[in-house]
Symmetry: C2
């Protein structure tokens, strides 16, 4: 027993910190916030509990750092996707970008999709994806204003689109097919043209750029 005893290494503070963040992302992703104990976190990092307390002050501190990084990451992806091109291209790029993120960082996405631990009163807002939607909403509000639409309804559309793509993303992480490019294409078509023009054939996405 104690297989790690040979491999146990002494790391520098920064290294240990990063390692804990990575380990934490994995554990939080698969067990949720409340479901993970600092004991398990420490064990998986091959370290004892007080180390974690020293670096992050506790479970919540580690979680906060992980969540913050992940939100910044995904917001950056979306921001880049909608930064230029025709409106329709932006929609397509955002959907594709997000789904590729889901594919490449399933753990991070799982964390964002799970309930947030912050049981602040009044707000039933469970998922962290609301923060993402909030930020998308600001972009939308600006675009709506510029286009002469009612700015007040922008959040509706922002949340609708974020909900659409994230929910599909969650489903996709389970079934893992068809490929994200195809899924993104369908979603973008739905978002842009509506149910009214369903694509009659599965893959009309021969147009690559």
């Amino acid at each position: 027993m104690d297989v790690n005893v040979a491999r146990r290494k002494r790391l520098s503070a920064a290294e240990r910190r990063n390692q804990l963040i990575e380990v934490g992302r994995g554990v939080f992703a698969e067990r949720g916030y409340e479901g993970t104990s600092v004991e398990v976190l420490a064990e998986r990092a091959g370290v004892s509990k007080p180390i974690l307390y020293e670096h992050f002050g506790g479970k919540e501190g580690l979680y906060a750092v992980i969540v913050d990084r992940e939100i910044e990451h995904v917001v950056a992806i979306i921001a880049a996707a909608i930064s230029d091109g025709s409106p329709r291209e932006r929609v397509e790029a955002a959907a594709l970008g997000f789904l590729q993120y889901v594919e490449q960082h399933p753990e991070g996405f799982a964390i964002l999709a799970h309930d947030a631990p912050t049981a602040r009163p009044g707000s039933t807002m469970s998922s962290l994806l609301n923060d993402v939607a909030e930020r998308v909403g600001q972009v939308f509000a600006a675009a709506f204003k510029e286009a002469g639409y009612n700015r007040k309804v922008a959040p509706i559309y922002a949340h609708a689109l974020v909900g659409m793509v994230t929910f599909v993303g969650q489903w996709w992480t389970d079934v893992r097919k068809p490929p994200v490019e195809q899924v993104a294409s369908h979603i973008a078509a739905l978002a842009w043209m509506g149910l009214r023009h369903l694509p009659t054939r599965p893959d009309p996405i021969a147009r690559k750029r």
Copy 2:
């Protein structure tokens, strides 16, 4: 202290059972599954723990009953909404029906939107709304087949639409305005016609790059 002592009443088994279900719905809604203890549940019902164990076998049993009821409820609403009318009317009715459910049963909706406790491995499926989407997907698959579309992509659309409306529903429970009818109208417009034809103004997005 112990304000309930005077009001403590002796109920029949069926009455107590129903009371526990209602209390449980409220508590689970605001604290999530893992966040609620049997002790709190019992206390809020003005009863002691063993009563709950007697009726439901434990926390999980009570939760299962509540969830089952709520899912049946919401699926019935959606099924009724899409039972007849033109496709477009069905979309509109489904969105409106669901949002009215959210408005009238915020606690039940909160439970469905929160993470499910079933930490079965392999599946990252956190929310119970996936079950709803699953069932919507079956309806879609049939409709797709009949319309000559590829049946395999039906789940994409089903999840997209369910995600859209549920995510907006979650946001709406926090802000509580504009009225659901208006929100439903926007969502239905988006789902049916796409971003391309945003309501309230003819499309000035001719500015392509």
